[in-house]
Structure formats: structure tokens, C-alpha cells
Amino acid sequence: MSSEFFLPDPEGHVPSAEGYFGAFGGTFIPEALVAAVDEVAAEYEKAKADPAFAAELNDLMVNYTGRPSALTEVPRFAREAGGARIFLKREDLNHTGSHKINNVLGQALLTKRMGKTRVIAETGAGQHGVATATACALFGLDCTIYMGELDTERQALNVARMRMLGAEVIAVKSGSRTLKDAINEAFRDWVANVDRTHYLFGTVAGPHPFPAMVRDFHRVIGVEARRQLLERAGRLPDAAVACVGGGSNAIGLFHAFLPDTGVRLVGCEPAGHGIETGEHAATLTAGEPGILHGSRSYVLQDDEGQITEPYSISAGLDYPGIGPEHAYLKDSGRAEYRAVTDDDAMRALRLLSETEGIIPAIESAHALAGALELGRELGEDGLILVNLSGRGDKDMDTAARYFGLYDTDAAVEADTDAAGAEIEGDAK
């Protein structure tokens, strides 16, 4: 497969035929979905072998998404990183404002190939939902987005964007009313409507082939960044850093660097109020192997296999699971994962905004905080690549409340604690 942006199946890193990355992955799904998931896997294999598929996707990536995305050095921000140089891979500059569009366009083309006319998707921060609604508008597909009720409140702008694009947004009221519950509801829809519906899964989790397929659509991030950084800095980075919720932007960044054993791959998980408080969503730091949403990976759960409710200020990272390839990379030692608190992420968000004129998504701010910490560890010669996976427009209400940026009390309503007490309280 030779094409500029669609770069599937790097040799040696594909999962097994059964979809396993070591002990993780697999296909833990109801029988009613087996035929549909098999169809996705078969169609994806055919698409990979079809030059017309790659050509169409490449055209979209250039002329619709705006690839390649920029690589931006951020020296003023890096002053707080112990003298290390920091470069940002600007996935926030993609159409729709995040990396999510890479995967969505690939799967939307696949949906057309399968002759399906309806797409469903889950969304946390709303970025995957917006990207999916966008692709459905572009291709004339019916679109239903499931979103936890809590997330529809804290990401209200993205709900409006999805509706503007013609999608139906369903607020999910069960469980913790966040991403996990949105996925449950999307699976229920899929089982009932599988004939005409494709579940356009938004991260590198779920049953095989989703972890490998979604990764393939995002590999372009790392491939571009590696080439850009070699040109600009003359060498590979000491570390490639990304936030991890389900793990799609991180796997997209990491994959091109897997053979470069000198490059540390660092995933930043949401520590919420701190791991010790139990109010976090740091699956690889504090979870145990288990099955959630179709595959075996690390999961936040109790001793009896009940999934525990996660917490993060970031809707996009507020998830008790993680893609199986990350579980494999963690156990093999090739990647490392550290946890970043809400407060550290918000500090990094504000710092990047004020020093570089770039407002990142709260999700991506976890990676920025991790990069500051890594920079201080690496010292003056350090070179760090960060995936800036999304822009922060959607987070302005959360950030304004957190930092007390609104002029009037009315804008903050009953929120007496400017440090975001209402938002945090709702997330319990």
C-alpha cells in the first residue's frame, strides 16, 4: 500500500487474525453483531487493497481536512520545561478541530462501500460526534450521535455544532452519563438496526477490527510528525507525548515511532482530582485487565468486575477503558503512561494560551502538562514532540468557570466557586 496519508498495517505490528495484541483485544460481542463486525473487517481488508479507496481518502485528507497538519515549535511555552525544545503536532488545525476527522473520513468511505445509509457514533467531548456529523453531511448519510447527558452540558457548543450539521444528538441518562454510557447505548442501537447502520466507532478500543482500523486511519499523525521533526530539528525526539482516553490520537502519534527505540512514547492519562482520591480516569495507571465494550484491555473495575465510574474534567478522557494496543504497549514496556491531574492540565492549557496564542482542548492539555514535566526530567538538550489533538473552543465555558473569566455573576449563575465546583460536582 503506497499512499501519502492512508498508511495501514505497519509490518510487524498488526494484531493477530483474532484481533489480539498479545493478551489484549479480541471480539467480545453479542452474536447479533458478529456478522456486522465481520463485514466491517472484510470490507476494510478489501478497501486496503483497493487503490481507489486510498486515492479518495487521500484526496479528502488534503482538500477537505487540510493535511498535512502543521508542526509548531513553542519556545515561550517551553521555558517552563527545563530548557527542552517542544514541538506541537497541530491536529487542532484539521477541519472540525481535532484529529478525529482522520478516522471518521476513512470509516465514512467504508460505510458507503458497505451500502449502509445510517451512521451512529458515541462522543465524549463532542469532537468525534462533530467529525462524524460532518462526514455524514458530506456524504448524505443519516447520523445519530449518543452523548452522555453530563457531557452534553459541559460540551454544549459541540451539541449545537452536531445539530447544525443535521445530526440527531441523543443525551444518554444511564450510569455516569458520560462516554462509557454513550457507547453502551450506541451498541444497543447497533444491535437493533445493524442492517442499514454502521457504528462509526471513535477510538482504538472496541472489538476487532476497530482497534487496528482506527489506528491505521490515524497513523498519518506520527508519520507526518516524524518527517517534519527530522526536517526541522534534525533528529528524532526524545519523547513523543499524547493524551489518552480511549487512545486514538496517542496510537496515531506513537505508531510511526515504534521501531525508533530511542524515542520514549509517553501517554498522559487523566488523574482527575488525584489517583489517591479515586476520582480519576487513569485506566492504565490504576486499572486491571478486563473486558469492556468488546475487547480485553485494562479497565477501571471493582473486585467483582463491575465497571467503576470514572472522573475527569475532560469529557474526552472520562472513560474507564483504553484501547487494547495501549495495554499491550504498556505491558511490553515500549510505551509508558503517567497520570496528569485536572489542575496540572488546566495550568498547561492557560500557559499555552498565554505564551503561544494557542488554546488547546482540555484533553490535549493533559499531554502538554506531561510534556512540561518530561522536559524538566530531560533537561536542556531535551526534544519533545506533543500531539495537540484538538482545539479548546469547545472548552471555553469549563475553562472560564475554572479560571473565573466571566465578567458577571449572572454568567456563572449559581456557581459560587470559580474553580469549577459545579462542573466537578456534577461529574461524581
Binding site: E18, G26, T27, F28, I29, P30, E31, A32, L33, V34, A35, A36, S174, G175, K180, N184, F187, R188, V191, A192, N193, V194, D195, E288, G290, I291, L292, H293, G294, V299, Q301, D303, E304, G305, Q306, I307, T308
Partner: protein, 272 residues
Amino acid sequence: MSGNIQLLSDALAAARAEDRSALIAYLPAGFPTVDGGIEAAKAVFDGGADIVEIGLPHSDPVLDGPVIQTADDIALRGGVKIADVLRTVREAHAATGKPVLVMTYWNPVDRYGVERFAAELAEAGGAGCILPDLPVQESATWREHAAKHGLATVFVVAPSSKDARLAEITAAGSGFVYAASLMGVTGTRASVGAEAQDLVRRTKATTGLPVCVGLGVSNAEQAAEVARFADGVIVGSAFVKRLLAADGDLAAGLAGVRALAGELAEGVRKRS
């Protein structure tokens, strides 16, 4: 002690000998309380159920509709544990001598320990397990331990299952085959899926195991309709609805599920 797979097969054979379908009732453990759930299981046996499936509630029941989600939520908020589920199986079986299975999602079993769960379920007098998110290709470990402890592995088949796949599933399963009447999650429906009869026919072409139909069956008329072509009729949400409708009045709830079991037991005897 070995599990009661034989008791399960005998119950299905006895129904067949009477030229009727078996009535299989589903009730979640811990709902409305652990003791209330045990009484509910005894009540549906008393009303005429041949077999009971005890649900082990899960935080993320992706195959369940709103009724069973609500019951699971009540049970989990009430603090139901796997030990309570096993006690429910033990007491429901001990009081009636009838076959009791567990139905749950794979993660609780995986997390509890596959060998430990199978051993304890068999010891409690359980007859087997239904694990609807454990497809046949991922099931080897479970089946090994289930077989060792005399437990049935009941697989679900769906209208979307192709014939070759049905053969693979039924070759690996034991006890009976659970045929989903329609493409969807649990919950009562106005009518049973038209695809059910075709699925039973295609499934029976691959196996001598009894084939029982579930999803969407809620009343005697539907039970009679399904009984014409299936070896068993599985009813879940309709029982849970009766308990929910009693709104905390356990005696009324038990009377409700006993009465429904009685109506359905008549239904499965009107197959022609």
C-alpha cells in the same frame, strides 16, 4: 459436587414428552432485594416455570433494554455481590429441585476467576451459564471449566447468524440453544419477530440440542405462538415489569410474577 446440566436436559425432555414447550423465566438476582429475588424465583417456579435463569447484574448491560437496566441498577445500588447471586441459585434450586442457570456478561466471571466461578456455581446447584457477550470464538476457557464442573454452556444465536456459524456455535454449546427472536436488546415487544421461526429451523438443522426462543415474549398468546416451533419459551422483562409495577410491595410483586408464570405456562401448552 457436579453441576446440574443433566437436570436441565431432563426438564427440557420432560416438556417435550408432554408435547409442549418448556417455560424459562429470567429474573435478576438482588432485585428488588436479594431475599426478594429468591422469593421471586420460587414464585415463578410455583406458577409453572420449568427453568429459571438468574441474572448476575452488571454495571454495563449492553444487551439489555430499559426494564432490565433498571432492575440491574436497583440490584447494584443495593450492593448485590456474586455471593448473593450464588445464594439465589442455591436457594431457588434447593426449594424446588428444578434447574437454575446464571445469565450474565463475561467480565464479572472473568474477574471473579473462571475456575472459581464455575466451581462455586456447580456447588450451589447451578445447571449452567448463558454469557451473551462471550461469542463462541472466545469461549474455550469458559467451556473447559464448565464441562469440568458439569455446567451447561448455553450460546445465543441471532437471526443474523449464518448457517455455518450456527453449526460452529451449536457444536460448542450444551444444555440448549438460546435463539434470539429478533435483532435487538431485551424488552417486551408487541409481537415476536417473524425471523424467529426461520432461525429455529436453521438452528435445528445443525443440532439435536433443544432450541429455546427469547427476546420480546411477554404474554400467553406470544408464548403459544412461539411454542409451536420452539422447545422452550424464555421470558424476562415481562417478569421484571411485574416486580417494578408492585413498587416496593413485595407480596404484590410475587403474586404478579406467579400469576404471569401461570398464564405463560398455559400458553406453552397451547402449541396447536
